[in-house]
């Protein structure tokens, strides 16, 4: 993935771009998983799950590299040891007017590094973020399946 397509290539050749990132993501995540499992055999399950979640986002960010604004923001957050807080907003009934106004803001809160992007860039980053997120979710599901069966 290191030498793979440029930013525009991301869009044009998603498969090509994601291939290398997948393996990198997988190895990073698995190693992190193993490390977590080794070091925290006695800790609470909640703490472990938080760590695993953090590892998941870390592997996402590492495999995405620094090409993307969202991955850079994510790496920054991880490095600063800040608590990985993600918006868990309860779905509220919102008036259409309000929803329209909020949409971009909501999206900005969801995507790391969102607030500092203009709309156009936000959509681009969202697309890339979604791709990596889906890959990460699938990876975790695969690990889950292979472990539990």
């Amino acid at each position: 993935m290191e030498s793979k397509s440029s930013t525009t290539g991301n869009r044009d050749n998603p498969n090509r771009n994601l291939h290398g990132s997948k393996t990198m993501m997988a190895s990073h995540f698995l190693r992190a998983l193993f490390r977590i499992q080794q070091t925290s055999t006695s800790s609470s399950s909640a703490g472990r799950s938080r760590r695993i979640r953090r590892a998941a986002y870390a592997s996402m960010a590492y495999s995405a590299g620094t090409r993307r604004a969202w991955s850079r923001a994510l790496l920054r957050k991880l490095r600063s040891r800040a608590r990985l807080r993600f918006p868990r907003r309860l779905s509220r009934a919102a008036t259409p007017q309000r929803r329209d106004m909020d949409q971009a803001q909501v999206l900005r809160k969801l995507v790391p590094g969102g607030p500092s992007m203009d709309d156009c860039k936000l959509l681009e980053e969202t697309a890339d973020y979604i791709r990596f997120l889906t890959t990460q979710v699938r990876l975790m599901q695969t690990v889950m399946d292979s472990i539990s069966s």
Binding site: K22, A26, Q38, Y129, I147
Partner: protein, 492 residues
């Protein structure tokens, strides 16, 4: 005619042997020139005097960048003129051919390289055809010259003519443009780098226009070489393949859309000229003739993007910029639509954004949920990971030591007991993970920083068969089925 051209092309291939080749196959005309060539040191003044007779001819050849093989240049200068040049053969003969004489309408001259290359062109094919061939020259690194040129001698003529005309127009307007216009034409691959970059920027500007208008040329050029999509001339994709790739992308995209995104323009007026030229050619496609003129100037001033205002739309720069922005956004929305499942039927930005937000939220929730599940399942992970590693590593080279390298955290004693347990475990179910590991190790380990794996190379020969063989459970069906059964998700 063709024969001569072929010979000419053949000569192109070996720059160093130009003189020798030419001497062998030179026709009477050229031989006449040879003494003149050898005798003539680069003299811009003399060349200039000789240029005027040629200026009348629609010469593509623009001033040539410094580092340049004269032979190639001569070809273009000589042959580009087409029928006109043929008339002025004598004049050409008198010109010290060894120099890259800029036969542009402006009569620009460039410094001449020391090598004197007697072009062996007694005749001048139609300029358009030659232009295209010249373009092909530049694009090719010399190996496949002959093929390309021989391929379509006839096709090139008609469409290229148009291109050459367009090129001429732009050239007349802007000398600088004409300089680089011939772009790659004059540059052999060997000299490509420096001048290419310079030419590229200008080429970019023009390529869009030309390519739009000369879509036909691009079409028929495409088969032969990808790089020379743009008809022959100017747009000419550069000889270096990577530049060509960039141009290729651009030109193809140009053809597809009316609006083109271009790199920064060097001169606004050149742009204006370009847009006007492009506009002339695209008269048919534009819906509104009168307005377009204004639009062109507006678009030209816009700088970064060439946009044409549609009929009935405001043409001030603000609205144009906004339109560009809107189009960018809609383009990204379309891409997002593909990403988010079940959104192909959704139309409208608001609804789409809602869907996107929901999807991102659901993905993040899934990550949390799975991490919770993984933490609960985790106690088994140790065993499985060991198993995995042991299985993979052991089978690849039978050395337990490699395992230690892979998982530094793993305490050594743990490895052996797990190895014994290996045979009885449901190995096939770990195939997916082992696939992941295998591929990871094959592809990523060398590049990963903290990863010390002494016997990395051993992993490389792994392939599916090895994994397949790691089917400890005889009861289990072949692993292929297991793999197929696994969610598509993570097979890499």
């Amino acid at each position: 005619m063709e024969m001569n051209e072929d010979r000419k092309f053949g000569l192109e291939k070996s720059h160093g042997d130009h003189l020798n080749n030419h001497s062998s196959g030179v026709s009477a005309d050229w031989q006449f020139n040879t003494p003149a060539m050898s005798a003539a040191p680069p003299h811009p003044s003399t060349a200039a005097s000789l240029v005027p007779p040629l200026t009348s001819s629609p010469l593509l050849s623009a001033p040539v960048p410094e580092a340049f093989v004269p032979g190639l240049w001569n070809y273009h200068t000589m042959s580009v003129g087409g029928s006109n040049i043929q008339n002025t053969t004598s004049a050409i003969g008198s010109i010290p051919i060894g120099r890259p004489v800029a036969m542009s309408s402006k009569g620009m001259l460039l410094s001449t390289p020391p090598v004197i290359f007697p072009p062996s062109l007694p005749h001048f094919p139609a300029d358009s055809g030659f232009i295209e061939r010249a373009a092909r020259f530049s694009c090719l690194s010399g190996s496949s010259f002959m093929d390309m040129n021989l391929l379509r001698p006839s096709q090139s003529v008609a469409p290229a003519r148009k291109a050459s005309k367009v090129v001429m127009e732009t050239q007349v307007q802007n000398t600088e443009l004409s300089m680089t216009g011939d772009k790659a034409v004059s540059l052999p691959a060997a000299y490509g780098s420096i001048d290419q970059s310079r030419m590229d920027t200008q080429r970019d500007r023009r390529s869009s226009h030309i390519s739009n208008s000369e879509s036909q040329e691009t079409n028929f050029c495409e088969g032969g070489q990808e790089g020379n999509v743009d008809s022959s001339d100017v747009a000419g994709n550069s000889s270096p393949s990577d530049l060509g790739a960039n141009k290729r992308k651009r030109t193809i995209r140009d053809m597809e859309k009316d609006q083109v995104q271009r790199g920064p323009q060097s001169s606004s007026e050149a742009t204006k000229d370009d847009t006007e030229t492009k506009h002339k050619v695209e008269q048919n496609s534009s819906k509104h003739g009168g307005k377009n003129g204004k639009d062109n100037s507006e678009a030209a001033k816009e700088g970064y993007v060439h946009v044409r205002a549609r009929r009935g739309q405001a043409t001030n720069s603000h609205s144009l910029a906004e339109r560009v922005r809107r189009e960018k956004i809609s383009e990204r929305m379309k891409y997002l639509q593909e990403l988010v499942p079940g959104c192909s039927k959704v139309t409208g930005k608001a609804v789409m954004l809602d869907e996107i937000i929901n999807y991102v939220q659901s993905l993040q929730r899934q990550v949390e949920f799975l991490s919770m599940k993984l933490s609960a399942v985790n106690p088994q992970l140790d065993f499985s990971v060991e198993r995995l590693l042991a299985k993979n590593l052991r089978h690849s080279h039978g050395s337990p030591l490699s395992i230690a390298g892979f998982s530094q955290e793993m305490s050594y004693p743990q490895v052996y007991p797990s190895q014994q347990g290996l045979g009885h475990a449901g190995g096939s179910t770990m195939v997916n993970l082992s696939d992941t590991y295998r591929r990871t190790m094959n592809t990523q380990l060398p590049t990963m920083s903290g990863y010390k794996e002494p016997s990395m190379q051993m992993h490389n020969p792994w392939n599916e068969e090895i994994i397949m063989q790691m089917d400890y459970d005889a009861n289990h069906p072949p692993n292929a089925q297991e793999i197929n059964r696994k969610p598509d998700g993570f097979t890499i």
